[in-house]
């Protein structure tokens, strides 16, 4: 869920922008010009994945797969997500200039954590792969929703009920995201296993 323009308080916007700038810089440092195209294509693939709307009962949610992006890209997920969000802002006006920092931070921190937490289990020939992939998708979307709710809540007492509702609404999304991430990982593991270990050549 992207926070729109004109909602958050200046302090939250400023902090988000500063933290996102740090993350993007750290991510760019780890990507050399040779791998820039790969990061760009994976970034656009995840952008396209976010166009897939999955039915959940009467409602639907779009896929995020940011946990999987983190496992594949490591810190490079930061610039990749920044670029994808900038394009969404330019093309659909979802999010926007002033909230770009906050939204990037909220969406990119969980993938980087997933990289450290789940990568060993997802890349190796592990029996835990299915469970780890589910946890990766479930937790990264959950953490992003939590960070979004916290940024809303920190912008003023008045936003706290809305933030709570946002968090609750994300619980079914987290489950679907976990299931789909587990299935995507099992697909890739069968079809192109070396893809999951992509960043090992360039240490994250």
């Amino acid at each position: 869920m992207h926070i729109s323009e004109g909602v958050l308080s200046p302090a939250v916007l400023g902090a988000g922008a500063a933290l996102a700038a740090l993350g993007v810089t750290a991510g760019l440092k780890r990507v050399d010009y040779d791998r820039l195209m790969t990061v760009a294509i994976l970034s656009s693939a995840f952008f396209v994945a976010s166009l897939i709307h999955v039915p959940i009962g009467p409602a639907s949610a779009h896929l995020v797969l940011n946990g999987l992006l983190g496992v594949m890209l490591g810190w490079a997920a930061f610039p990749a997500i920044f670029v994808a969000l900038a394009l969404q802002a330019l093309l659909f006006q979802f999010g926007g200039l002033t909230v770009l920092g906050v939204n990037t931070f909220n969406m990119a921190v969980p993938p980087v954590l997933c990289f450290y937490a789940f990568r060993p289990m997802l890349t190796g020939p592990s029996r835990l792969r299915g469970g780890a992939a589910f946890a990766c998708g479930f937790l990264s979307v959950g953490a992003s929703a939590l960070l979004t709710a916290v940024s809303l809540g920190m912008s003023g007492e008045a936003f706290i009920p809305a933030a709570r509702a946002l968090m609750l609404a994300h619980i079914p999304v987290m489950i679907v995201e976990g299931v789909v991430t587990a299935l995507v990982v099992s697909f890739i593991a069968r079809v192109r296993p070396e893809m999951l270990a992509f960043t090992s050549t360039a240490h994250g």
């Binding site: 004109g6 909602v7 039915p55 670029v83 330019l90 659909f92 009920p161 697909f187």
Partner: protein, 265 residues
């Protein structure tokens, strides 16, 4: 879906240097995001609408875009009016048989905050469409580098934008193939598995394409720089235009700070 309906046109705003427009959009967005008085925010909204009118943007598409953007704002309207203490405007409940805390009261302070957020959000979006949306993404990508952001980031933006269409085509092809075979989505594991395989296939093919494209670029001697066919025109009036917009935004912010009734919600 990935077209840029507002980037085509011949208005003064369409022709202006994207660097100047981006700088102006940024300043406007930051100033308006800081506003605290609904009156000043309404002036900002009028300014945003005036910019869109000046760019002669197609009204139906503009309204459709605004409606999509306001989904988040509508969500806030469900909660904000009831979330602040103040003079009650509308009371829902008490419903017999339900506990007392379920009584909802929309307060003047809550509604005022919701109105403020709505005005600010739409003002920024309108100005953003009129300023950034009137250049195509490629021009914006080059402008980003011109404004001092890292080259690598600008390249990443341009590459992603270029490949997005290719990947999206791939996705639509797979989707059509699924539909032709009678796939109807529902809330079940079969649907999730189908979508997961679809997303996985998009990822695998994109990954292969990335290898090929990177090799082709290396072969052609790519050394971290993109050569442009058309340099931005850089009309001297563009800087003036950007300065005028930035000045307007600064005046709005000053009016907000000096406003006697300005208060933090």
């Amino acid at each position: 879906m990935l077209d840029e309906p507002f980037s085509r046109g011949a208005s003064r705003l369409h022709l202006a240097d994207p660097r100047c427009k981006l700088a102006a959009a940024m300043a406007f967005a930051v100033c308006v995001a800081l506003l605290r008085t609904p009156g000043v925010a309404a002036v900002a909204l009028a300014l945003g609408a005036a910019l869109c009118a000046w760019a002669r943007l197609p009204l139906p598409r503009l309204l459709r875009r605004l409606a999509a953007v306001n989904v988040f704002v509508a969500l806030l309207w469900l909660f904000l009016p009831f979330s602040l203490p103040g003079a009650p405007l509308l009371r829902i409940g008490p419903v017999p048989g339900l506990p007392d805390w379920l009584v909802l009261a929309a307060t003047d302070a809550g509604v005022a905050l919701a109105v403020l957020v709505t005005l600010k959000s739409n003002a920024i979006v309108l100005a953003f469409i009129a300023l950034a949306g009137t250049s195509d993404v490629t021009a914006v990508g080059h402008a980003v580098a011109g404004l001092g952001l890292p080259d690598k980031l600008a390249l990443l933006l341009l590459f992603t934008w270029r490949q997005l269409h290719v990947v999206a085509q791939e996705y639509h092809r797979l989707r059509t193939a699924a539909k032709v075979r009678g796939f109807t989505p529902g809330t079940n594991l079969h649907t999730y598995r189908t979508y997961a395989n679809l997303a996985g296939m998009v990822l695998v093919r994109s990954f292969d394409r990335a290898e090929r494209v990177a090799q082709a670029m290396r072969l052609r001697g790519f050394a971290g720089r993109f050569h442009m066919l058309a340099e931005p025109a850089g009309h001297p009036g563009d800087r003036l235009l950007a300065a005028a917009i930035i000045l307007c935004a600064a005046v709005l912010l000053a009016a907000d700070i000096l406003h006697p009734f300005a208060k933090l919600p």
